[in-house]
Symmetry: C2
Subunit: 151 residues, 2 copies
DNA sequence: ATATAAATTTAAGCCCGCTTAACTAAAAAG
DNA sequence: CTTTTTAGTTAAGCGGGCTTAAATTTATAT
């Protein structure tokens, strides 16, 4: 029991530091691309989850289909994503990152990784091994959690 | 060397999962409060770093002083933050969270913590202990890193 | 076959946040 | 003590993103 409390404390402290830092970097990055937050988020989601349709966009971002359409339009015009007909339903569209889009978001990720690389350098070999193991466990559990529940 | 590569891989995987999840939650929360992203960010920074002046706001968010003033205005009118004269410089203002504001952002944090609590329940006692230790190391190093460098 | 529903787009208009410009007040510099 | 610089506010106007409303095309239901 007390172990669980300690754990909660540790992870919350880490979240606070990590979030605080990441959010700053992320906001700056979004601004540097000249794209809106939703546009960057959309591209990240395409990268993370793969292709999706228009209606999914409007649900995820909680905007009207019209707004989603306009959002996507600009990314298509900038050559970051590609909008093609869904072969299974010709009313629907399938959105995908282009090479250009993929490159852009990977750059953004690199930027965020940089901070962590600095962190890495401050650790001893033993600490790295220990943390690496710990994070792998968390990633596995988190991924499972993401997959299983309906919501 | 190879150990460092493994570490980098582990932490990046974790970041991806964590960021993806956190960003969603954070965006929803910001929307649910009816406040803009900048407004929520501002309150979080006040909570995290403590009081600050107007000019700091406009620098951090990269907006004009005019914009900062308007941003703050709405939060003051909603009773989330308090704007008082700086006793050391009567031109300047000191911004602080009110109890109401503090409560709001703590609620938001709780919401984000909830996911992690789910995670916690999926872990064994040993795993928790191990992860807890690992995260404490990272938090310490990250905090040091935040403090020392000029930029 | 016809009617209805679903997926998306286009156009018009609104709102909100940002900027520029002009202003007030206090501190620092000369 | 005047001048300049610094901190912040106020007002007017612009632009971007979102919404509603209407149209288009394809799928589904009766």
């Amino acid at each position: 029991m007390t172990n669980s409390v300690q754990f909660t404390k540790s992870i919350r402290s880490w979240m606070d530091v990590f979030m605080h830092r990441s959010m700053r970097g992320w906001g700056r990055y979004a601004k540097s691309t000249g794209l809106s937050i939703h546009q960057v988020s959309l591209m990240m989601q395409l990268n993370y989850r793969g292709a999706c349709g228009m209606s999914e966009i409007s649900e995820r971002f909680n905007v009207t289909p019209a707004a989603a359409s306009q959002l996507v339009d600009k990314l298509v015009q900038s050559g970051y994503i590609q909008r093609e007909e869904d072969p299974n339903d010709r009313r629907a569209k399938l959105l995908n990152l282009t090479d250009r889009g993929r490159k852009l978001i990977h750059q953004g990720m690199e930027e965020r990784y940089r901070w962590v690389d600095e962190l890495t350098q401050k650790l001893t070999e033993e600490e790295r091994a220990q943390i690496s193991e710990a994070l792998d466990i968390m990633t596995r559990v988190a991924t499972d959690l993401e997959a299983e529940p309906v919501q």
